[in-house]
């Protein structure tokens, strides 16, 4: 018995010894110029091919660079690796002149050959972001610092996807290929970019450490953070705790329920921005009774949009005005904003032959997120007032996508969020509402309107920006009238940070990216 007690006391002593050491270890490190970010999702790869995944693009924003970048304030394109660019009159040839003093982290120079290699590699891998390159026919290296892109047909949104195409070191890739894998296995935990920060350590689901690249071509004069640590923390409550204690500088996933508490904390500030994301209920226009426009309109009038903003988005968002986000190019701000009106909804249903509802709709959503569950429940209770029963189908996203692409699938309503890749709505709207996108794109409503099709096609090839604006405003008007989708909201993107973090600006085209080079820490305690 005494022995046992002795062992227990010894164990406690060891634990206590370790506790003091824990504090010591933390104190031993200098974090004064280190940006520590808490995030719930780690990048599955550091391969630019997968930059369509926002977790991967977050890593790209530190270690890689693209030819161009979207300015966060104006949403306009600005030079990055390319110092200049031009488009031929027929819209089929894009010429980029590169900056000449850029080196990759592996020490090689970034030249036009690397640019060509990056795009050719993407096409060969044929996964991830490559779906954006369908119009690209070939690339020509004119000289070391000039590169030309030839399109098979004019495709105006092409230039807007260039900022998502991060340039990779040709030599680096070739040196790390195994089993003809294009170095993809190597890139699972290494990077081969030219950006301001080098990946120095990566433990999936735990942390990624980036240190400054001494030979970065823009130099290190002025205020810049020298080290960036991504700490992967799944629980938003834990993220909040760490931020409140000052152990992390930025949290990427504050829960909507925590926003008010964070706002009240004088050491913490919130950074908000309107995203290019739109939340929808896509209504199957080929299903009865949703093939009747009056029923679709009744459903749109039944939803409580204000409650959605308050409960689902925690107040951080605005009601959608039409099918694209209000912060995007060509947004039609003359469209009506629908408000909940049960009387009108009932009248429309009666007109359509359903005075007391009396039918059942199947609603599909991705079953992991709390937001979608809340949305589904709210819609269910709203429609119950009209006598309409809503049955739920919770799915994984890939299964949901399969169902959306199947003409005869069961669900009548899909809860969806669409991420427009850039401020230009051209390719996104085509994907959502063109009749040819049924079964292959995101046209979950199975919507078809020849006039909309025609305008969507013209918008992709029209060089005159005034005409494009006219087309897209008309498209939004037609879609709003036809109600293939109930356009719910434009959520805001919110992250929380300590007061001493400066220089962050939300960039909707590079959603969730933190360009740490632009950030500085003023007075961060060690």
């Amino acid at each position: 018995m005494k022995k046992l007690l002795y062992i227990l006391v010894m164990l406690m002593l060891i634990i206590l010894f370790c506790f003091t050491n824990y504090v010591f270890i933390l104190a031993d490190q200098d974090f004064s110029n280190t940006l520590v970010i808490a995030e719930n999702e780690y990048p599955s790869s550091f391969d630019p091919v997968f930059a369509d995944d926002s977790a991967v693009e977050r890593a790209m924003a530190l270690s890689y660079e693209a030819l161009l970048r979207f300015n966060p304030s104006t949403n306009k394109l600005e030079p990055w690796i390319a110092s200049k660019w031009s488009v031929s009159e027929d819209g089929k040839i894009y010429t980029f002149i590169l900056n000449q003093n850029i080196t990759f982290h592996d020490g090689t120079d970034l030249t036009a050959s690397d640019v060509k290699f990056t795009f050719d590699r993407m096409k060969e891998i044929n996964q991830g972001i490559v779906y954006e390159l369908n119009a690209l026919d070939r690339i020509e290296v004119v000289d070391d610092y000039t590169v030309k892109f030839y399109l098979s047909e004019p495709y105006i949104p092409f230039i807007n996807i260039i900022p998502k195409m991060y340039i990779i070191s040709e030599e680096g890739v070739k040196a790390n290929i195994s089993d003809n894998d294009f170095a993809m296995a190597y890139l699972a935990n290494h990077e081969l970019g030219s950006g301001p920060y080098v990946l120095t350590s990566f433990a999936p689901e735990q942390q990624a450490v980036f240190s400054k690249y001494d030979n970065y071509w823009k130099g290190w004069e002025g205020n810049h953070v020298e080290k960036v640590i991504w700490q992967y923390i799944k629980e938003s409550s834990t993220q909040r705790l760490l931020l409140e204690k000052g152990d992390v500088d930025i949290i990427m996933d504050p829960s909507p329920d925590d926003l008010n508490v964070l706002r009240d904390n004088s050491d913490i500030k919130l950074a908000e921005g309107t995203t290019f994301v739109v939340d929808y209920f896509h209504l199957r226009t080929n299903h009865k009774p949703l093939d009747d426009i009056r029923v679709r309109k009744a459903l749109a009038l039944a939803y409580d949009y204000d409650a959605h903003i308050a409960i689902v988005l925690g107040g951080s968002g605005t009601q959608a005005q039409g099918p694209i986000s209000s912060s995007m190019m060509f947004h039609n701000n003359t469209l009506p904003i629908v408000k909940q009106d049960m009387a009108k909804a009932k009248a429309l249903l009666a007109e359509a032959g359903y005075p007391n509802g009396g039918f059942t709709l199947k609603l599909a959503y991705v079953g992991i997120g709390e937001q979608d569950q809340r949305t589904a429940v709210m819609f269910q209770s709203n429609l119950a007032e009209l006598g309409i029963t809503v049955d739920f189908m919770a799915n994984t996203w890939d299964y949901m996508f399969d169902m959306e692409q199947d003409e005869n699938s069961e669900p009548d309503i899909y809860v969806e969020h669409f991420f427009y890749n850039s401020a230009d709505p051209g390719s996104g709207l085509w994907d959502l509402y063109h009749s040819e996108a049924r079964g292959i794109g995101s046209n979950a409503s199975w919507y078809q309107n020849p006039k909309v099709d025609e305008l969507l096609d013209m918008g992709l090839t029209e060089m005159d920006i005034i005409k494009r604006e006219m087309y897209y405003k008309e498209i939004q008007k037609l879609i709003t009238e036809d109600v293939p989708s109930i356009c719910i909201s434009n959520p805001k993107y919110i992250i929380a940070m300590r007061n001493y973090v400066h220089g962050y600006e939300y960039n909707p085209s590079h959603h969730e990216c933190i360009f740490a080079y632009d950030i500085y820490l003023d007075g961060k305690p060690n």
Binding site: L11, I15, F17, C18, F19, N21, Y22, V23, I25, Q29, F31, T34, V36, S44, S45, D47, D52, D53, N126, Q127, G128, I129, V130, Y131, N134, D181, M184, A185, L187, A188, T200, S201, A203, P204, E205, Q206, Q207, V209, K227, I229, Q231, Y232, I233, K234, E235, S237, T238, L241, K245, D247, I368, N395, T396, D398, Y399, F401, D402, D431, I440, S442
Partner: protein
């Protein structure tokens, strides 16, 4: 005995084959399209088809299965559809991470669970028994994620005596992957600061993981100890003048421990597969979350590889328990 072990090992091969077939069928029947997942949400149909061919998903199910089994014999468990890394190399990181957590939990269970059961059996209704009941109520009654979050909030948030989670402090570089267990690897390279850091990070997650097991084992030890302590041979032992310590810890416990050992060996596999909540709360990066994520995105090679590893560990721990029985109870022979 040797025959028994060989027989069991052969039996294990059949079970592994059975499990792998079952898993293959389940993954095949699951809704969704893995080729679509890999190709990306907005990939064109021809890109999805090309990925399907690359992954061999266009072939009949039995061909896919045979190819998989053939590759296992070559030491290949396939390539993760998410990370594009060989699954075997991923498991080399994730399995030791979970194993370290489970090992920590097992130590908590052995150090506290068994003595707690013995003490509460010796003096029912006294302090130790009440404490044991409290632990049981806590471990069995409270959801593990809730206790985990509260403990984290209190010990990290309020008292600042333990880290919030993770396997190492922020910015520390993990030791080279020798065994994959950070504590052990740090000791091997003789970096004692790193060892202490890894050890401190292990304390709370392993304790939280151990709590339900602690409850089970202590109650089980208590009930079988109470039964054994009533037996005649214990009275004889006492009558012969053996010290109470010897009677309880050697004679009684040896006979009472078989039931907890059975339970314990079964729990090892459970622990390994059931770490997801603890891993999620404490950002541990282990097998549980890997499987969970694998299922969500239909990362079939990862799910398959991880499940086979867990099955293997489960069977080995059961075999180990059977061998231990022989040692503890000479009447048992195989």
């Amino acid at each position: 005995m040797l025959k028994f072990i060989i027989r069991r090992l052969l039996f294990m091969v059949f079970i592994m084959v059975g499990i792998s077939i079952l898993l293959f069928m389940i993954m095949y029947k699951l809704p969704g399209d893995p080729a679509r997942t890999v190709a990306g949400i907005r990939a064109k149909p021809e890109q999805v088809e090309s990925v399907r061919r690359q992954l061999g998903l266009d072939k009949p199910l039995h061909i896919q299965y045979l190819t998989y089994i053939k590759n296992i014999f070559k030491g290949k468990l396939g390539t993760s559809v998410l990370t594009k890394k060989p699954v075997a190399s991923q498991l080399k990181v994730y399995v030791p991470a979970s194993f370290e957590l489970v090992l920590g939990a097992m130590i908590w269970v052995i150090i506290f669970g068994v003595p707690l059961g013995v003490f509460s059996a010796l003096k029912p209704g006294k302090l130790m028994d009440i404490f044991s009941r409290f632990i049981t109520a806590l471990g069995m009654g409270m959801p593990i994620f809730w206790i985990g979050l509260i403990a984290q909030m209190f010990l990290y948030g309020k008292l600042n005596v333990l880290p919030f989670g993770g396997r190492l402090s922020m910015g520390l570089i993990p030791p080279p992957n020798i065994t994959g267990l950070y504590t052990l690897d740090a000791l091997i390279i003789r970096d004692f600061n790193l060892f202490k850091d890894a050890f401190v990070h292990l304390l709370l997650p392993s304790f939280i993981l151990a709590l339900p097991e602690l409850a089970i084992i202590s109650r089980l030890t208590q009930s079988s100890m109470m039964e054994v302590l009533q037996m005649d041979y214990i009275i004889v032992a006492r009558a012969k003048g053996l010290s109470e310590k010897r009677v309880v810890w050697i004679h009684a416990l040896k006979n009472a421990i078989s039931a907890p050992i059975t339970m314990f060996s079964m729990q090892i596999g459970m622990l390994l597969g059931g770490t997801i909540l603890v891993e999620s709360i404490f950002s541990w990066g282990g097998l549980g979350y890997l499987i969970f994520q694998g299922i969500l995105i239909r990362d079939f090679p990862v799910v398959m590889g991880s499940t086979l590893v867990i099955t293997f560990v489960f069977m080995v721990s059961n075999l180990f328990a059977d061998i231990l029985y022989c040692y503890l109870d000479p009447r048992i022979s195989y």
